[in-house]
């Protein structure tokens, strides 16, 4: 439980109570969202028959789409749900790569190779 006091321009004190449980919950929701996009994106890439570099680049495109949709839902402000823009955009992008690759391979093989 942290009390963060920040001074605003007009001399008033703005004290925010940070709730670490809420922050953690939001972080978990974010990670879950990225995982789901990785799975869906992987299956899409596989079904479409993307290979090599194209598939890799598509992964980043899916992540970008997700981040854009998230930013839209947040109303382009990271407060009061997350601690910083970094966490929203950058954090966890590489965590779901292996999941993406798995489902990409799975879908690709199911549809194209066999």
């Amino acid at each position: 439980m942290r009390i963060v006091a920040s001074k605003k321009g007009d001399g008033t004190i703005e004290k925010e109570l940070f709730s670490p449980e809420s922050l953690k919950q939001n972080g978990v929701a974010l990670t879950n969202g990225r995982t789901i996009i990785a799975i869906a994106g992987g299956m899409t890439s596989g079904i479409l028959g993307l290979t090599g570099l194209k598939g890799g680049l598509c992964y980043f495109m899916y992540m970008l789409l997700f981040t854009a949709a998230l930013a839209l839902k947040l109303g382009w402000k990271y407060q009061p749900y997350f601690a910083s823009w970094n966490q929203v955009c950058v954090d966890g992008i590489f965590a779901s790569v292996t999941t993406y690759i798995l489902f990409w391979t799975l879908a690709y093989n199911s549809v194209h190779v066999f």
Binding site: M1, I3, V4, A5, K7, G11, T12, I13, K15, E16, L17, F18, S19, E21, S22, L23, Q25, N26, A29, Q79, P80, Y81
Partner: protein, 313 residues
């Protein structure tokens, strides 16, 4: 997604719950939000929580609208509020329900102990807490409540001893250090209290209330022959002014008292205020007077009569 609570949100929600209009009951969602804000912000509003929360738990819609974990969290929260307001029967009912749902939980045991404390049965409460500690010697809640039992019995020295044992292990618990300091103050052990406040300042230097309390204790400890303590207190009051952006009235009073003490009780060179200190005294006096003029001009005369304002303002 959860939100970061703020004091304004809490005040607004509380307002909406209290003024539900025409003797009607506050809507379930508002009460839920109020309880959640109090939990996250660790705010204690026993009367309101007890009233709204109890109605929420007893209503039939609660079973539908609250998911399992939230329902029991609210039960626990409302139970503590009921213990605060002294409604023992209702509290006992909730404790029974919690024990049935979570038969082996040490958290529920702590609640049972607190219920015994509320009824005045300190022996039974102590028994409960010691049992928890037998199974888990690192249960912080049980340790702290043991100290409360001693305090409730009026045995402040035993409370100090228990708290010291606790702090021997958990030495970064700022709240515990603060509690120990207040215990020492009630036993008139100023020096030890000062030490405890130092620990609080070390752990959370961004919290102005710890600096305030430390400065107060330094000022109380200072005597005409140890005015350097008053000078240190001046420093800490200035820290508070910085942390609160110049709005702490307590700090301004403290500053004026210390500087006045140095000026009037000091001997020789130690009684001379530096230029900064003089400027500070003048500034605080000015701001205090302006504040009183604005908010309660009736007391302005009392302020002037205290004699701590530097002459010439």
């Amino acid at each position: 997604m959860g939100r970061l609570p703020s004091q304004r949100a809490l005040a607004a929600t509380l307002d909406r719950c209290e003024n539900a209009g025409h003797g009607g009951h506050a809507p379930i969602d508002e009460v839920k939000e109020l309880l959640r804000l109090c939990r996250d912000g660790k705010v204690r509003l026993p009367e309101q929580i007890a009233r709204h929360g109890l109605r929420l738990i007893k209503s039939k819609e609660a079973k539908r609208k609250l998911n399992d974990s939230e329902l029991w969290l609210i039960n626990e929260q409302v139970c503590y509020a009921l213990l605060d307001t002294g409604e023992i029967d209702e509290a006992t009912m909730i404790v029974k329900a919690l024990s049935k749902r979570f038969p082996k939980s040490s958290r529920v045991l702590v609640l049972q102990g607190a219920l015994c404390e509320c009824c005045g049965d300190y022996d039974k409460a102590e028994e409960v807490y010691k049992k928890i500690l037998e199974e888990n010697e690192a249960h912080q809640g049980a340790w702290k409540r043991l100290c409360c039992v001693a305090k409730g019995r009026g045995d402040e020295e035993k409370a100090v001893k228990t708290l010291k044992e606790y702090l021997d292990v958990f030495c970064t618990d700022a709240e515990a250090w603060e509690e120990l300091a207040s215990l020492y103050l009630s036993l008139s052990m100023q020096k030890q209290a000062s030490f405890c406040y130092e620990e609080c300042v070390l752990i959370q230097p961004q919290n102005p209330s710890y600096h305030l309390k430390y400065a107060d204790s330094l000022y109380s400890l200072s005597t005409p022959s140890t005015l350097h303590l008053a000078r240190q207190a001046v420093g800490y009051y200035s820290v508070v002014l910085d942390l609160t952006n110049g709005s702490s009235v307590h700090a301004k009073y403290g500053l004026l008292c210390c500087l006045d003490a140095i000026r009037s009780q000091g001997r020789g060179s130690s009684s001379r205020l530096t230029e900064d200190e003089q400027k500070l005294a003048a500034k605080c006096a000015r701001e205090l007077e302006a504040d009183y003029q604005e908010k309660c001009p009736a007391l302005l005369a009392h302020l002037r009569a205290t004699g701590i304002l530097p002459s010439g303002t």
